[in-house]
């Protein structure tokens, strides 16, 4: 996908294409590993969409990706991880750090998400929706997703906020802040899903953050 988009990429855009570029220059072994990894993920998601998550066995996925079940578990610790794992958090961190220093933590967060979200969203809105819906509908995935948000996104946000506010990441207020933000992000995600993907996710996120900053007036 989107492999040879060469020139004319505005430098402001987070490096998702440079990503593809870099792959091409890796030692054979690494390249093969990445190819295998992607093959597993692609076939798995396809099979999940066709037959449902529970009805698809690791054996089937392995057969489709032409590897052994042993190998499957070398790439993904659990069947759930094939769906859960993504690489958004590092991008988020990068963009956040580039925000003008005069912004308050929450303003910087809003700006960051306004910068990043629409790009990801435009690019793969449909796939994102399908994947997210599956995560929410399959209990095992849903549970794992929450946990992955806690270890991933929450930690990233927490790092941000501690940095901008000059406080300790373990400070109870910094923690409360981060959890609240993660909360409204999840709320936005659910509203989006409830609308069948009709509502604009980036817009929902931005509005929720504004609402949060205003002290949730109800």
């Amino acid at each position: 996908m989107a492999e040879n988009r060469r020139m004319s990429t505005p430098p402001s855009e987070p490096s998702l294409d440079a990503f593809e570029e870099r792959l091409r220059r890796l030692p054979l072994r690494e390249r093969k590993k990445l190819r295998t990894r992607r093959a597993i993920q692609d076939h798995a998601l396809r099979l999940f969409a066709e037959q449902g998550y529970d009805a698809t066995t690791v054996e089937q996925i392995s057969a489709a990706a032409e590897i052994s079940p042993s190998t499957f578990f070398r790439y993904f610790p659990t069947k759930e991880d094939v769906v859960i794992e993504d690489e958004y958090d590092p991008v988020l961190a990068e963009v956040f750090r580039a925000q003008p220093p005069e912004l308050s933590p929450i303003e910087a967060l809003r700006a960051t998400l306004r910068d990043v979200f629409p790009i990801v969203y435009e690019r793969e809105s449909a796939a994102l929706f399908a994947r997210t819906r599956m995560m929410v509908e399959v209990p095992a995935l849903r549970a794992r997703m929450f946990d992955s948000m806690r270890t991933g996104t929450l930690t990233v946000i927490n790092g941000f906020v501690a940095e901008r506010s000059g406080r300790d990441p373990a400070d109870p207020e910094v923690q409360a802040f981060s959890w609240a933000v993660l909360g409204v992000l999840q709320a936005a995600m659910y509203s989006w899903l409830d609308s069948g993907g009709e509502l604009d996710l980036p817009g929902l996120v931005d509005r929720n953050l504004a609402f949060l900053a205003a002290g949730l007036p109800l």
Copy 2:
């Protein structure tokens, strides 16, 4: 619930003892079921504490509780549920509804938690801490706990807020509100755990809610 609360129970205290009372009056079959259920849970938690969660098999639990593994799964759909399930949410709902109508949603929430939390906390602080720590340390339990908070506590809060604010429970702002509250509750829980149980959980919760209502000033 709360069917035959006859005399002399101070109406302000949520009915956790009346609970025990009621059991005594049930048909034999029901009583036995509840006894079995409790036996399973008690032996399970003991074994988990002794040997660790993963190292304890359902077979061991069943043997200790003197039932068959089949029966175990009739009482608890998964091994995880033995740890996760609790009965706090209905109590919460009851107390919330009894709050003076002039309070705003967030004030009513704070008041509710100030009423309920200290009681539970005092009563079983140590057990609560052990159980909570295990839930956070064992990945499978952690994931499940988040999900159970979403289907349980979040829904209860959401009901509250919709009621008090006269809005639809599906309203994006109501949802954002509830998720943010759930977020800071989790933050409090983690701060508490980080302190090794030294910090006062009810106090943390109350402070986090106040901080949230103030728009998370950082």
